[in-house]
């Protein structure tokens, strides 16, 4: 296999691209989680608002990434800014939906007893409801991460960093002896990045899900 040889010969270069790729994915996901969880917290008690937010997030996810990143050039020019914002948008559906579901599924009796003992709305949310909803929220973040890890590769054509650049370079030079191997090696590297991130979530889950609610 030429791709394996290519990867062995260029592993330093591939690793660098992979780390870039992972870095931008994680940056996007952290910001997306802050926004998505906030949206969920603001809407989970109002069924109308919750449906609206979910519908908008679902609509965003149907926009082809090729088009969205292209349109982003008009606002943010060439580079990583536009793609990162794109990834944040694409992450919203799983994160917002799981935050809303997770918060709605918290046992009403638990919330009532929290309020009944004199916790404020805010204390109940931060100390009781969000920790209990956290496993569901985390599952949403995990799905969002998988989605954007692959989408980020497309962003190379608007100048974003990461493994997409290698794919882009290979595809633009198809016919050259190394081109196909480059594309293949970079694609496999993206899958590896996704697997590594997935393992990271297993670890985060172990560390952050309280023992009393672990199944």
């Amino acid at each position: 296999m030429g791709a394996i040889e290519y990867a062995i010969d260029n592993w330093g270069r591939l690793l660098e691209f992979a780390l870039q790729h992972m870095g931008f994915v994680l940056l996007s996901i952290i910001i997306a989680t802050l926004i998505g969880v906030s949206l969920g917290v603001l809407t989970y008690q109002r069924p109308g608002a919750a449906s609206l937010v979910i519908a908008v997030a679902a609509t965003i996810l149907t926009i082809p990434s090729f088009a969205l990143f292209g349109l982003g050039i008009a606002f943010f020019g060439i580079g990583n800014t536009g793609p990162v914002i794109g990834l944040i948008l694409y992450s919203q559906l799983p994160i917002v939906r799981n935050t809303i579901t997770g918060l709605q599924e918290v046992d009403a009796a638990v919330v009532e007893s929290a309020r009944g003992m004199g916790m404020s709305r805010w204390q109940s949310l931060l100390r009781i409801e969000l920790p209990l909803a956290w496993p569901v929220v985390l599952a949403g973040v995990r799905v969002a991460t998988l989605i954007v890890t692959s989408i980020f590769a497309i962003a190379a054509y608007v100048g974003a960093s990461g493994l997409g650049q290698e794919i882009d370079r290979g595809l633009s030079n198809l016919g050259a002896a190394w081109a196909f191997d480059t594309v293949l090696a970079a694609t496999v590297a993206i899958v590896v990045v996704a697997l590594v991130l997935d393992l990271l979530y297993t670890l985060i889950g172990k560390l952050t899900i309280p023992r009393g609610v672990r199944s």
């Binding site: 046992d107 638990v110 309020r115 003992m117 916790m119 009781i128 309280p210 023992r211 009393g212």
Partner: protein, 413 residues
Amino acid sequence: MTDTEETAMPASESDPPAMIRLEELTKVYPGSEEPAVDAVTMDIPEGEIVVLVGPSGCGKTTTLKMINRIVEPTSGRIRLEGEDVTNVDPDRLRRRIGYVIQQVGLFPHRTIAQNVGTVPKLLGWDKQAIEQRTDELLELVGMDPATYRSRFPKELSGGQRQRVGVARAMAADPPVMLMDEPFGAIDPITRDRLQNEFLRLQEDIEKTIVFVTHDIDEAIKMGDRIAIFGNDHRIQQYDTPEMLLSNPVNEFVDAFTGTGASLKRLNLTRVRDVALSDWPTAAADSPREELQRQLGEAEHSFLLLLDRGQRPLRWVSERDLARPDWTPRGGLKVRAVVEPHVTLHDALDEMLTSNVGVATVVDERGSYQGVVDIDTVMTAVNAMRAETRERVRVAPWHGVAASDVADASEARS
């Protein structure tokens, strides 16, 4: 306003002061024309258990939840220790009121100790004080702190969870506790035990307790006073259990307290309130001849053998003693052992299952105190009957708003 105070509860002079006073408390839910609670006025005296009871949808739970403003009243006022709390910050108010609900609502992600320490933590107690208080409370509800402190709610049984729920509600030593069907979701045997434990606890802590149930038997057992809510979302009668059973103000109350009122009244008296009967006893290690002699002198056909700690061991009859292979382990094992705090109803129940026809009474250490037999029960019933007749004569409208009396007399005539 003065008018309201007069009808709130025509308390006699011996009644303790009101810890909670509800004035014309009304709740109308948005989109509903009929009020869920209609102008409820009542005084809840300090240190008593007041039970709100009635059919589902009568407004008893809504009334309870308006006291800590989980449900905000549409109109009317709530006073706690004389202070009008209708418009104060609800979170601060709730930290002064213990709250126990049927589903318990323990925080699943927190340990038992953290659950119990919730309100002290909200109040900013220091860590050591919280730990000390938590252990004390677990001990109080009969759970070993060392065993349970670091467990999670899912590792406990339903009964244990409810105990923790009660401990949690008492954590900051609130003067008032609200309990919404606290034993409703628990199997009958455990429920009975928890009720008894709670009554024993209440003798020490003397909290003011508002207790909601749909079960009139539970109401009679637990309540110092009972408010019966009707389908019109108003209080039909607010009275002591004796008065409710002997003197219902209208047909609704009569039907709700139900048949078997006499039997229910046995729930109002506890074994320690009645004179126990004597029974011939002997030390279990006495020689056989001595036992035979004692039984011969007694008027009963059984002799009760006690161990050295005066704990009842076995019933022996003349036949047992006459057996050639007699040993002190012969005879019938003593069943139907009750403690002084159980109700006569439970003692009667035990008595019927006993092989000798009496319930044996022991103190907390298990030493023999006497027996309850059918004569004891009959005497108690007759005494109760005489007593209520007396009270009815003295205060024919005791505990009833004037309008209800009018309704009642119409219904009766």
